[in-house]
Symmetry: C2
DNA sequence: ACCCAACTTTGTAACGATTACAATTTTAAA
DNA sequence: TTTAAAATTGTAATCGTTACAAAGTTGGGT
């Protein structure tokens, strides 16, 4: 069974497709590295030379608003984006900055729910520390 | 039983006290609003007119490094700080931006631990949605 | 009390992520 | 084809944060 295409995913989430949007979603689906807007821009520039960084920001905002992607605030320097909207946790390495997926261990609740009088729409579980690579002193970027 | 003073807390965490550091820690302990550096600066300026915003940033960094305070990355706009370092979760309202404490429901582990090969030093549980006040259409700042 | 080195604080300038905005281009329906 | 709405683009502005060097403060040894 094939993975859903970027275009199909956009349609499923009610986002009108365009060359740029498809390319960005495609990058998110193919690269589960939780990239920043800048990383997405740099990666796509070669194939779409006219791409603007503003478009990346606008598009990310649109994706998030439509539930087609997640914005992570795990990194205090910059926003990161995740095309995998299923419930999972994230780990960020304080040394190399890389973000890894981890299984979600908390109680799983569908959609949004009330908690202490507040309407919860998103649940984020963030772990911060030193990744396995960096523990071995083997992290390339530091 | 009296609450620990700001000065005592600094000493306990190995932070050499100063007028500015005591004032900032005192503010954190007295105001559990998870303030931004700017909010701390604005609040303390009247009483310490020579205070510099750089000092607030430096001091917050020092507190966090020494475990005397937490930096929250729940808000994508700006860092927020918490003088309560006990294990608890946070909720941020997407409308008014206020951050509330919530009980921590996950598995409680002491200090740092290994998870999937990574050394976890901090655990953050963030909930995002609409706070009770804003749900009633009663939030002052929006 | 004085001196000096280490530490702290301060102000300014720089930096970088993000957004505002207006112009241009593209899309799609009539 | 025409035309209005939507999308994209580039530039400039904004704002949180950090770098840096100067000025101020502290505490120990004399």
């Amino acid at each position: 069974m094939n993975r859903e295409s970027a275009n199909e995913r956009l349609v499923r989430y009610g986002v009108k497709p365009s060359v740029q949007r498809i390319a960005i979603m495609d990058y998110l689906l193919a690269n589960r590295t939780h990239p920043t807007a800048d990383e997405v821009y740099s990666a796509l520039c070669p194939s779409i030379p006219t791409l603007s960084k503003t478009t990346v920001y606008n598009t990310m905002k649109l994706f998030v608003e439509n539930g087609a992607a997640l914005m992570l605030t795990i990194d205090d320097k910059t926003a990161r984006f995740d095309g995998d909207t299923s419930l999972h946790a994230h780990f960020i390495c304080k040394q190399c900055g890389k973000v890894h997926d981890l299984p979600f261990t908390g109680r799983k609740r569908a959609g949004s729910f009330q908690l202490d009088g507040h309407l919860v729409e998103e649940v984020h579980h963030y772990y911060k520390g030193v990744c396995s690579q960096c523990q071995e002193g083997a992290c390339p970027s530091s």
